[in-house]
């Protein structure tokens, strides 16, 4: 151990007192509770299911594709910036290329003219992917009951989380994304793959 490390563990020297030796924790073979205990790897190994591990990794690194179409996009920007800060959830990596994103946040009014562009971006995103309909317009057309507006993005692409509000506050968006994390937690992707594999080879 380098010398400075020992010095840091020492107590401050009070005048007139003899400095005591720093306390050291020793791990010796006689201290182990189990003979199979390997101190070199134990503590770095977790036993779990593959799905649980994959879901844990996925849910903590959601890369959003911001589909900002109206005022909801302003709230989305606020959510991404320092005050609300979605990097606390590992979602700060906004990608403006659908190839690098896995959450499509549809924030705003989807007009019919824009609808197929949104669909195309969704199709370009690689699996696994999720979709968040942010706000009233993206969820149901909102107040735009008219010839020009698609009445909810779920008519075109599958939506995982709907967020109410016009526009929703950043807290609501964060809540929605946390709901999405909850949803990802419960997914059984490898189990489903295994099922398909056995069905095909039966």
């Amino acid at each position: 151990m380098p010398d400075f490390f020992h010095k840091r563990l020492e107590r401050p020297v009070v005048r007139g007192q003899i400095p005591r030796q720093p306390a050291r924790i020793m791990v010796s073979p006689s201290n182990t509770l189990h003979t199979a205990y390997d101190s070199k790897i134990e503590g770095n190994v977790i036993v779990t299911r593959v799905d649980a591990a994959i879901n844990w990794m996925r849910k903590h690194s959601l890369w959003p594709m911001p589909m900002g179409l109206a005022c909801c996009a302003i709230e989305l920007m606020a959510t991404a910036s320092s005050r609300f800060d979605i990097s606390r959830f590992g979602m700060e990596v906004m990608r403006f290329s659908p190839r690098q994103a896995d959450v499509l946040i549809v924030s705003g009014t989807v007009t019919y003219k824009m609808a197929l562009a949104v669909k195309r971006i969704w199709d370009q995103m690689p699996e696994p992917k999720w979709c968040v309909a942010m706000g009233a317009c993206a969820s149901s057309g909102g107040m735009y009951r008219s010839y020009a507006v698609l009445q909810g993005i779920d008519r075109l692409i599958p939506v995982d989380v709907y967020i109410s509000g016009c526009p929703p506050r950043p807290e609501a968006l964060i809540e929605g994304l946390m709901k999405l994390q909850k949803k990802i937690e419960g997914e059984e992707s490898t189990l489903a793959q295994k099922k398909v594999f056995f069905e095909e080879n039966a």
Partner: protein, 189 residues
């Protein structure tokens, strides 16, 4: 008022082309027939000093014989004069473009073509500005339901009918009272 004198001068020079004039609270409106419309606009631009076209819009008098009406809002840059020129257009007529006088009329005319279906002859680039090329309807016409009509154009766009749940206010032109003009729900055949 300077605009008042301009109206007088336009009436003298255009003669029978002027259908009527209206003055309301200092606002001057000149109703002209469609063949004299471009002459009137040209005079305003070149002789009377209206350098600016503030707006160009259209009306749908559904049920009347010349069905549409185009409205030009003209002004001078120093805002000393303001003049409105109107002309009635029937469904099969074309309006001469004003883009040769004011380049700013370009997008206004495209919007009128897009929303109302009035065509402008001589326009350099008359295509839809809000809806996509190939959309079969003109949405701001009175006989077009607010909920929309289904249309299908694979690879470009498709539209459906919006649920109106009893309906917002849909206006009917030419009705006698407000209740009939703006019914709570408008039944579309």
């Amino acid at each position: 008022m300077a605009a008042q004198e301009d109206v007088k001068r336009l009436c003298e020079t255009l003669g029978k082309g002027v259908v009527g004039t209206v003055e309301f609270r200092g606002e001057h409106t000149l109703n002209v027939s469609l063949p004299t419309l471009h002459d009137a606009l040209k005079k305003c631009r070149e002789d009377l000093g209206y350098e600016m076209i503030i707006d160009l819009s259209s009306l749908d008098h559904f049920g009347d014989d010349p069905r549409f009406e185009v409205v030009y809002e003209l002004a001078t840059v120093d805002d000393s004069k303001h003049l409105r020129i109107k002309a009635k257009v029937s469904e099969d007529e074309e309006v001469p473009t004003a883009t040769d006088l004011w380049p700013g009329a370009d997008w206004h005319e495209r919007e009128i073509y897009d929303m109302m279906g009035i065509r402008f002859s001589g326009h350099p680039h008359l295509k839809r500005i809000l809806m996509w090329e190939g959309y079969p309807f003109y949405p701001l016409r009175k006989d077009f339901p607010l909920a929309g009509r289904p249309s299908e154009m694979p690879d470009v766009a498709s539209t459906g009918v919006a649920p109106l749940e009893g309906g917002p206010f849909v206006t009917t032109a030419g009705a006698t009272d407000t209740v009939r003009r703006e019914p709570r729900a408008h039944v579309v055949e």
